[in-house]
Symmetry: C2
Subunit: 110 residues, 2 copies
């Protein structure tokens, strides 16, 4: 995983914090397909994601504006993946939509 | 790790995405001390954190308002930990300060 190269704020971040169950059925394939689909949405800027060995994970997706997040949510709402997420893959999750006001970066190579 | 129980928005989230080096010297102890110190700050609401086997990690800390984040930053700026972070523990990081506008939760137990 890499840190996303993003434009200067303001932009939006959607955090998805989740606890996975032990159910794998379709998770990897559908997750990959969802990431592909998101990356094709207007206003998509990138994502960062990590999951620990205990199944606890955080995914950040970055978006140009509120409108692009709502459009993506409308797509997701009609997708089987969301139902499968609640039924099979996650025991708990929290989604938070936030407006990034400022950002700082450090890169040892620079 | 658990998903934080938070008040209804608005509140702030600070995301800290980072790539660890292989250097361990003091990292765990100082990280623990920093988390303790943060939790004692006015306006601190909680945190969620995960790091993968490849050393890529995301930490979210939640704050009541802008003022509490600035006060915490002023503390951090005077702490050795920040210099050590850049010198030893992280090859790269990004910090993003964002205002949470809305949040959704799912809990299978409920």
């Amino acid at each position: 995983m890499k840190i996303s190269a993003l434009p200067a704020p303001p932009y939006y971040v959607v955090s998805f914090t989740s606890q996975r169950t032990d159910v794998e059925d379709g998770y990897g394939e559908i997750g990959y397909a969802m990431a592909e689909l998101a990356s094709q949405q207007p206003g998509y800027l990138g994502f960062e994601s990590v999951r620990g060995a205990d199944g606890f994970g955080i995914l950040l997706s970055f978006w140009k504006d509120e409108q692009s997040i709502r459009a993506w949510k409308a797509v997701v709402d009609h997708i089987e993946a969301q139902r499968r997420g609640r039924q099979d893959w996650y025991s708990r999750y929290a989604i938070r939509v936030a407006l990034v006001e400022r950002a700082y970066e450090f890169d040892r190579e620079q």
